[in-house]
């Protein structure tokens, strides 16, 4: 230890200074870290919105920690976990909403998964092909808090707060319509079916439709809605008509609406007004039906071709339809009359109906207007089964005034009202045809046939005679004639004797003629030769004067 002290002896002494900053200040570092951490926690806690759970049929496209929840394309939350429900029928996605999206955790919010979707109406959600699916959200007005939702399987057709109006449509059945089916106005899509439900009494369905603004103003209190699904093919007097809204409608269904032609109340319909959904445009555009009445008719003829739903017309105006056709038995006459029941809509007669009603009321007629009906029957009002279509033989019921119709008794108080009938046009035609047939039947076709048969056998005999005796003679005659003609032919043949003789004679004749000419020429020059005889040639150079050529006979045509 003495060595140690010695070492220390010669060493410099440190300078002592006043104290510096307290070392414990280093604790500021963890305190700051803690503060930062705390601020993060507080920030996260204050930023955290409500956590909700949404159940879906499938977790396809849902990525925990990644899949965003969007409202109007703004991210308002994120899926934190996805798990299978306890009964394994669906998946439950926990969604952490942002604080600003607190209002989405209320009763009427709706959530659905936006995936690329290809439907008849087009393709939607293309952007999700790249970015992955997201959960779409729609918020309502409700203030009631809720944190457990059932997700929609397809985007809702109408988002809350979208400008437009909702209307109710009553229909017999849903047809091919579905949520999202388009609503057309003048073939432009202006809305869609937003929901439907079966009526409580089970006797129809009610569809809720949404018409986007500003097209919702075209829905008036007198607008008519009809089912535009399918192709409406009608064969009318003016030819074949095919009517459809669009190809997509044909496949997927749709509804169209329009105001009826002519004067009507064009004030815009109110929100949630109810309308009837007609089956097609024709019935939609027909005058309003009013109250239906049930009538009965008793036909004594066969009504083959008359079916339920066949039209009933009053002076050519569609008036109602047949609802029942039943066979009856009449003991008195031992016949089977047909009882046809029909539902008619007197209001379809329009002005006539209004006037008749006014008249009946003025005269104090009863509800069924029995006096009025009685008068009309007296004037010849009768129901007839007429042929509507000659090709198919379809019948319809026509109510017309037949002044010549025999008088019948009419009970105006009977319920249901029974309209007297008259045989239809078709029956008359049938009667006429029957007459014709019976007349034809009177013709003695048998004896006519027998006579004809005898006549024919006579003719046969005659012809046989002709064959046996006349024809052979004709044959021999013809053969004789043929021989003669053959001889004539031979005689005129180029190598026949006659032809050769003729040629020789002609040559001889030519030669004679030439000799004669030579003689006459010589005599013309030397007329004295007749007296002195022929003298010797004095001019040998002029000798070839007329040298007779050897082939002259063939060229005997010198002028």
């Amino acid at each position: 230890m003495t060595d140690d002290k010695n070492i220390a002896e010669g060493l410099p002494e440190p300078v002592v200074q006043r104290p510096r900053i307290n070392a414990s200040l280093v604790w500021l570092v963890p305190i700051i870290a803690a503060l930062v951490g705390l601020s993060l926690v507080i920030h996260a806690w204050s930023d955290a919105g409500p956590t909700i759970s949404v159940s879906f049929q499938s977790a396809e496209g849902l990525d925990p920690g990644k899949t965003p929840v969007k409202y109007k394309s703004v991210v308002i939350g994120k899926v934190t976990t996805v798990r299978l429900s306890e009964d394994r029928t669906h998946v439950v996605a926990k969604v952490a909403l942002e604080k600003s999206a607190k209002s989405f955790a209320t009763a009427d919010s709706r959530f659905w998964v936006v995936r690329p979707r290809i439907g008849l109406g087009g393709v939607s959600g293309i952007d999700t092909l790249l970015s992955g699916a997201f959960i779409g959200a729609d918020v309502g007005q409700s203030q009631e808090p809720k944190d457990d939702f059932v997700g929609l399987e397809s985007p809702p057709p109408v988002t809350h707060g979208a400008p437009g109006k909702t209307f109710d449509l009553h229909a017999d059945d849903l047809g091919s319509l579905d949520i999202g089916s388009p609503i057309y106005f003048r073939r432009i899509q202006v809305g869609r079916v937003s929901s439907y439900h079966l009526n409580k009494d089970g006797k129809g369905v009610t569809l809720q439709i949404f018409i986007d603004a500003p097209s919702d103003q075209f829905v008036t209190t007198s607008s008519r809605f009809w089912n535009a699904s399918g192709v409406d093919v009608s064969l009318g007097a003016d030819g074949l008509k095919v009517n459809t809204q669009s190809l997509a409608t044909v496949l997927a269904g749709g509804v169209a609406f329009q105001d009826p032609p002519g004067p009507h109340d064009a004030s815009p319909a109110q929100e949630n007004d109810a309308f009837t959904l007609f089956n097609n445009m024709a019935t939609a555009m027909a005058p309003p039906d009013g109250e239906p009445r049930y009538i009965r008719m008793r036909f004594s003829q066969s009504l083959r071709g008359l079916t339920v739903d066949a039209p009933v017309e009053f002076l050519g105006v569609p008036f109602g339809r047949v609802v029942s056709i039943n066979l009856d038995f009449d003991e008195k006459t031992q016949t089977f009359p047909t009882i046809v029941g029909a539902v008619v809509y007197p209001a379809r007669l329009g002005k006539a109906h209004d006037k008749l009603m006014a008249l009946a009321k003025a005269q104090g007629d009863d509800e069924q207007m029995s006096q009025m009906m009685g008068r009309l029957v007296d004037h010849g009002l009768r129901a007839q089964a007429r042929t509507g279509n000659l090709l198919t033989g379809q019948l319809y019921i026509a109510m017309d005034f037949l002044p010549k119709a025999p008088k019948v008794e009419f009970d105006g108080r009977a319920k249901p009202l029974e309209i007297p009938t008259a045989p239809g046009d078709f029956d008359k035609i049938q009667q006429q045809i029957a007459d014709i047939v019976s007349k034809i039947q009177k013709v003695p076709f048998d004896s006519i046939g027998n006579n004809l048969n005898d006549t024919l056998s006579e003719l046969h005999k005659t012809l046989q005679q002709v064959n046996g005796s006349v024809l052979p003679e004709v044959k021999t005659t013809l053969q004789g004639a043929q021989k003669t003609l053959g001889n004539a032919n031979n005689a005129f043949a180029p190598d026949s004797q006659l032809q050769q003789n003729l040629g020789g004679s002609l040559q001889e004749l030519q030669r004679a003629a030439r000799s004669l000419r030579v003689l006459t020429d010589y005599l013309g020059d030397h007329p004295d030769a007749l007296l002195r005889g022929r003298r010797a040639d004095d001019k040998p150079l002029q000798a070839p004067l007329p040298p007779p050529p050897q082939d002259a006979p063939t060229q005997g045509s010198k002028p």
Binding site: E13, P14, V15, P19, R20, V26, P30, I32, G37, K66
Partner: protein, 207 residues
């Protein structure tokens, strides 16, 4: 080895800067007569400082792991990754080697450093004479690997700077990486403030 005298036993104190050996005056505020830097037998309040920094580093380590460190946008797919989810993604997407490297550098090394420093601090404070050489080696290891634990920060910085594929891919650093960087820096400072001589001091030198 404890038989051999230490500088403090001899009443000596060395200047940390100019290495001048001075006499120990047993005062807290002695200053080197040659260069003027503060003299102390051991790093002053080494335990306190190391503990404080270690705790601060641990506090930053929590948000560093909880908060996302990086956002990648590729083909419209926005992906926020924390350190752990990034490692999982690397592993799942077929780069287990990279995943192991990142896991080692970002999770294992910091955690090991926390454990090692805590172990050194506790054992030294209790004056334990257990495995002093090994503890010294552990300290040197901690000092050595400290420089390599910034891997995540480097990865994010490199990706952000280089991997800009425009429309197809975008990389963006998120707050987590700041906390991770702070953790790494503060643990490095903590390991620096720890005086390894304390390992050898035993009970008789309680700061």
């Amino acid at each position: 080895m404890t038989d051999l005298p230490r500088a403090s036993d001899l009443g000596l104190i060395g200047c940390h800067v100019c290495r001048l050996v001075c006499r120990d005056v047993k005062g807290d505020n002695a200053v080197c007569p040659r260069c003027g830097s503060v003299l102390h037998k051991r790093k002053s309040s080494s335990y306190t400082r190391t503990w404080a920094l270690l705790i601060a580093a641990f506090m930053f380590y929590v948000p560093a792991n909880v908060l996302p460190i990086m956002r990648t946008v590729s083909l419209g797919d926005v992906d926020d990754n924390t350190i752990l989810s990034g490692i999982i993604e690397l592993w799942v997407k077929g780069s287990p080697d990279l995943a192991i490297i990142v896991f080692t550098a970002s999770i294992m090394v910091p955690v090991l450093k926390f454990f090692a420093l805590s172990l050194l601090l506790i054992s030294s404070q209790r004056g334990s004479k257990w495995a002093q050489r090994q503890r010294s080696k552990l300290y040197r290891l901690v000092e050595f690997i400290g420089y390599w634990s910034m891997l995540d920060v480097f990865v994010v910085a490199l990706l952000t700077a280089l991997v800009q594929f425009g429309f197809f891919s975008q990389v963006e650093p998120l707050p987590g990486v700041v906390f991770f960087g702070l953790t790494v820096v503060i643990t490095m400072i903590a390991s620096m403030t720890f005086d390894p001589r304390l390992i050898w001091d035993g009970r008789d030198f309680d700061d």
